[in-house]
């Protein structure tokens, strides 16, 4: 039993970031129970495998948290459909929640019932990205569910260029819409002459 670690978690209410759930109240979530507070606190300590200072909560991938006497069930949203990190995060979350020993069953499920958008990254998450040398995403384009076909879905005008995460200059340019991982584009800063990556607005 790895219960020692769970006692190290301080379930103070401030640790639960309401911004992490921008999709609104979750009817399945026993959000206010002490156990679910412990779950949310624990989720704040599970980090993205590629950007080790942003938690899965601040990344906005937690969709629902359900705590019953029988089980803890968490639904997570992939940032990109083909992102290999989602499986790593799923396993890390499950491992972390098992350490809490709240209920006999722990399940962490990947779902598309809601769609992750880069707008789900919390203000704390955006600060964490910047601290890691990544420019946070611009506002995501909106996708309506009406039937109108749009062959220019990212808009006719170019999005604002991101500020350099190193020097803050806005004198940057896009080098490549695609980058080393699915979620990032490559930019260059004319001011400090550094290449940098920015999160795609999706």
């Amino acid at each position: 039993m790895k219960t020692l670690k769970s006692t190290a978690i301080n379930p103070e209410p401030q640790a639960v970031d309401q911004d992490a759930r921008p999709s609104g109240p979750n009817p399945h979530s026993a959000f206010r129970t002490p156990h679910s507070l412990r779950v949310w606190s624990a989720l704040h300590t599970v980090f993205d495998p590629e950007i080790p200072n942003i938690s899965v909560v601040d990344l906005g991938i937690i969709h629902t948290v359900e705590v019953t006497p029988e089980r803890v069930r968490v639904e997570i949203l992939p940032t990109f459909v083909a992102c290999p990190a989602i499986e790593v995060m799923r396993e890390r979350i499950a491992g972390r929640l098992r350490e809490l020993a709240i209920a006999p069953e722990v399940s962490v499920v990947v779902t598309y019932a809601a769609q992750w958008s880069s707008d789900r990254i919390t203000p704390a998450g955006r600060a964490a990205l910047r601290a890691s040398g990544f420019a946070p995403p611009d506002e995501a384009p909106s996708f309506t569910s009406d039937d109108a076909v749009n062959l220019n879905p990212l808009g006719a005008t170019r999005p604002a260029l991101p500020a350099c995460p190193y020097c803050g200059s806005k004198n940057t340019m896009q080098e490549n819409r695609f980058g080393p991982t699915l979620c990032r584009s490559i930019y260059y800063c004319h001011n400090c002459r550094q290449p940098f990556e920015a999160f795609k607005a999706v």
Partner: protein
């Protein structure tokens, strides 16, 4: 039609479907998944040999997206049929694949790859817009996610189409490629055998012929005489709807593929055929 769609019941999962609906949905999912899967493999052939390093990165990233979309679609299919996604993806001979004729063809030169991607991505945008309202909730949810990612692909290939078009040789090659690819591209909207069932249940919100007309209408101002004036073999009929002026090259959706697909099939299934059932 939209009203009908909103009053239609939705299906939370495969257990909610009748047997004929399940079979029809499986046909649709296989066509969608095979398109993305095979295109992802063709795209990956540019890794390392694209005209610029940026394009090596772009094509590799796009290929990863497409194969990931295919995998997610095969997983929806696996939930319907009880077979696992890897088996569905790899354990078929060429005739078991249901990709449209457009995806049978070699990647060709750069202009042909750009022309194919442009035709595919615009057609896919139309198809995804419709499927985001599928009554099969797992498909609608996944499509809602996929279209956000595909928007980046379309933006990229739209930029390349316009860039090639500004150069004399580029425009000539682009025009020749579009001319050659149009009949095969129309196969993306060949009606499926069980389409009536898909439409009745709202699993597919609109018929493929209607989607084809929407696609052509959306492309008319871009490729037509008032746009880039590139090959656009379609015209507006008396009822205002766009229809092609050429015969489509069909067969992809029934497993009758162009010989060009044979080489890719041998390559992409090689590892699986050497060690069937292997996990990695």
């Amino acid at each position: 039609m939209s009203e009908a769609a909103t009053t239609m019941r939705t299906f939370a999962g495969s257990d909610d479907l009748a047997a004929d609906e399940r079979a029809a949905l499986a046909e649709l999912l296989l066509a969608l998944a095979d398109d993305e899967f095979v295109l992802g493999f063709w795209d990956s052939e540019w890794t390392g040999i694209a005209p610029a390093l940026e394009e090596d990165v772009a094509y590799s990233s796009i290929a990863q997206d497409e194969i990931g979309h295919a995998r997610a679609l095969y997983e929806l299919l696996a939930a319907l049929t009880g077979r696992d996604a890897d088996t569905i993806a790899y354990d078929r001979d060429q005739t078991g694949f249901r990709l449209a004729r457009l995806l049978d063809l070699d990647r060709g030169d750069w202009a042909q790859s750009i022309a194919r991607r442009y035709l595919y991505d615009t057609a896919d945008a139309v198809r995804l817009t419709a499927l985001a309202r599928s009554t099969y909730a797992p498909l609608a949810g996944l499509v809602g996610k996929i279209r956000r990612e595909e928007a980046y692909h379309l933006q990229h290939f739209d930029a390349w189409l316009r860039r090639l078009n500004t150069d004399t040789q580029g425009r000539a090659r682009l025009a020749a490629s579009l001319e050659a690819l149009w009949p095969a591209a129309l196969d993306l909207f060949t009606p499926l055998a069980q389409e009536a069932t898909l439409l009745r249940a709202g699993l597919l919100p609109r018929p493929f012929t209607a989607l084809r007309a929407e696609w052509l209408a959306a492309l008319a101002p871009i490729l037509g005489p008032n746009g880039l004036d590139l090959p656009f073999p379609a015209r507006q009929e008396a009822d205002g709807a766009y229809a092609p002026t050429i015969a489509p090259s069909t067969g992809g959706r029934t497993g009758d593929h162009d010989p060009a697909f044979d080489r890719l099939w041998h390559e992409m299934t090689l590892v699986y055929r050497q060690e069937p059932g292997a996990t990695w």
